[in-house]
Symmetry: C2
Subunit: 361 residues, 2 copies
């Protein structure tokens, strides 16, 4: 049989065909059933596409996403899942910690998902996965699903798509979800409301680096973990541990009776990681024994109901043309002390309710 | 001249006449000018009546109160005034501390007003003044005006009437206003937003009593003051000081560069009180030198503008008949995990905007 050598023209035609197929691909809309089948079969492409659906702002995508979430959650209760927040100031080593903890879990045949809240991913399409040095070993495991989660912009925005993504990956058979925050402020508060357990990573030492932690974050932590406790930094790590043990002792007691622990570990050397996992499990046991675990999840759901309602009310008000017209000058008057804030509020609200045709009660 | 002995019938008639006069008194409505004249002349009755006007929920009283506040604030800027929050768990000795600090200020010819946020005063008409053992010596001074401030019920409610009362007493010539909270939670947060300086009183020792302090309160304090540092408790007081000095060192730096101080005093013996006043003055100097003082007041005014707007929007929504009809069952569905909080929010918001005739944007 004679061998046929493809010409450059053949290659050109093949490429053209390929491009035509690819151009048509986005138009192929999957049905709910296709998504559900794929997700249940552990198909990462289906899971990825479903998450993209959740993150989309297109109304038809949103409707499909809601139907998908409802069918999945109706079929599979998620009481056996665990959602862990991993927070800490930039540079504390959150990704390397997640890699170390993740490998420890994978070695025990546990399947985990990692959602990294990434403020840049909305623009760049996911800088975290782009950075190949991050979680390199972990991302090669078959039992691990890693995905950046766009921060959207508003507080509720972050949490909404991330919260719904958690439900998806749980339904796809990842019972442990680690949520990594960017560590620059408000995202921690949103993440506290979508997770069961809150880890705060710290650097060795007890000086300047503490200033990277925003107010109120230490109080939210169930476990405080001094990372990079290795080599020359071992003494400084113990110093930080003592420091934070004193600090958390000052906090009011947790409703579950759990006393926050201060641990040390080295993500680079893997030391202290098994102890972190043991403490996480003991914390969960305490939460479950006191029924705090289920109560917290219920409170979180009701919190998001209220938050979504109130964010919509605020948006409806602040984006209304009549409000945008009068509010800036009223704010200037209030800032200058010329009128009282209550009087200014009354003025703009009267206008809003009148122009929007809303009955005030 | 013959002496006339009044009979019991005379007394009865006098009493009757007296009651008739008193019954008519509430109908006498003062004009704005009468209020302003009285307040400027330092008439406590006029000041008291004006505060009652502010606290009233009657629309005509509210209108009059707003006019009064506007005229007063237009005439007299309040840059030279100082608003101090005095907080701490129940039993820490807030009233006796205010008495001791107040007497120290009065001795320096300073005029002070004390507003005590009192959750019971709406019901009892002011339990704090009823309790004669509280601030007994201070209340006898001519340079002191003491008044309970009803807590109203809602967070915004407390702060609104108290904030407006601050403006009134400042206009009436009390440049220093001490605001005492009840120390049971949310009132501290509201009070933080109406004061320049935040004092947190603590008990000696470093054990159980710490648990009376709600989360986030220590972080708001500019000065932490261990009260009751006398007699046998002196050693315990120093222990508490050391403890809290470590704790506040962990806090992120204050925008003004002010580092919170931990002092000790005895309100009973008067020791440490002059040092508290010196620290308050140094804190104010630091706030003013960095322009934080004025910036904070401006931020507070804008905060109350937003808070008032958003509270009104929330009230309008949650009190709407159609919302009250459908929300409880949706909440139950969300709590049971049968529908997502976002889906429930969408359902109730769609109903609300449709029935209220409001355009959604």
């Amino acid at each position: 049989m004679q061998k046929v050598h493809p010409t450059s023209q053949d290659a050109g035609e093949a490429l053209h065909l390929c491009l035509k197929v690819m151009q048509r691909m986005p138009r192929l809309q999957w049905s709910i059933e296709q998504y559900i089948q794929g997700i249940r079969a552990g198909d990462r492409v289906a899971l990825g596409r479903a998450i993209t659906l959740i993150e989309s702002t297109r109304p038809d995508h949103q409707r499909l996403a809601q139907q998908l979430l409802q069918q999945l959650s109706a079929e599979k209760p998620n009481h056996q899942t665990l959602r862990i927040a991993v927070t800490g100031a930039p540079g504390v080593g959150k990704s390397s910690f997640i890699e170390a903890l993740g490998l420890h879990l994978v070695a025990q045949n546990l399947r985990i998902a990692v959602l990294a809240i990434d403020p840049s991913s909305a623009v760049s399409g996911g800088s975290i996965l782009g950075d190949k040095t991050r979680m390199e070993r972990l991302s090669m495991s078959e039992n691990v699903f890693i995905r950046p989660s766009p921060s959207g912009g508003s507080l509720g925005g972050v949490a909404r798509s991330t919260r719904e993504t958690i439900h998806l990956v749980e339904a796809a058979g990842y019972p442990i979800v680690l949520i990594e925050t960017v560590g620059v402020g408000q995202s921690e508060i949103a993440v506290r409301h979508i997770t069961d357990i809150f880890l705060l990573l710290l650097l060795p030492g007890a000086g300047d680096e503490l200033q990277g932690i925003k107010r109120g974050i230490v109080e939210m932590a169930d476990l405080l973990i001094v990372n990079k406790a290795d080599g020359e930094r071992l003494a400084l790590a113990h110093q930080a541990q003592t420091y934070y043990r004193n600090a958390v002792r000052l906090l009011p007691p947790h409703p579950s009776g759990w006393a926050p622990r201060v641990l040390a570990c080295s993500s680079a050397e893997g030391t202290g990681i098994p102890e972190v996992w043991t403490s996480i499990q003991e914390c969960v046991q305490q939460f479950q024994a006191t029924h705090y675990f289920a109560a917290q999840r219920q409170q979180q759901a009701l919190y998001w109901l209220r938050e979504t309602i109130e964010e919509t009310l605020r948006r409806g008000f602040y984006h209304h043309p009549c409000v945008q017209k009068v509010l800036p000058s009223l704010e200037a008057e209030v800032a200058a002390g010329r009128i009282s804030p209550f009087d200014a509020a009354e003025q703009v609200l009267t206008k809003y309710y009148a122009e929007a045709g809303l009955q005030r009660n």
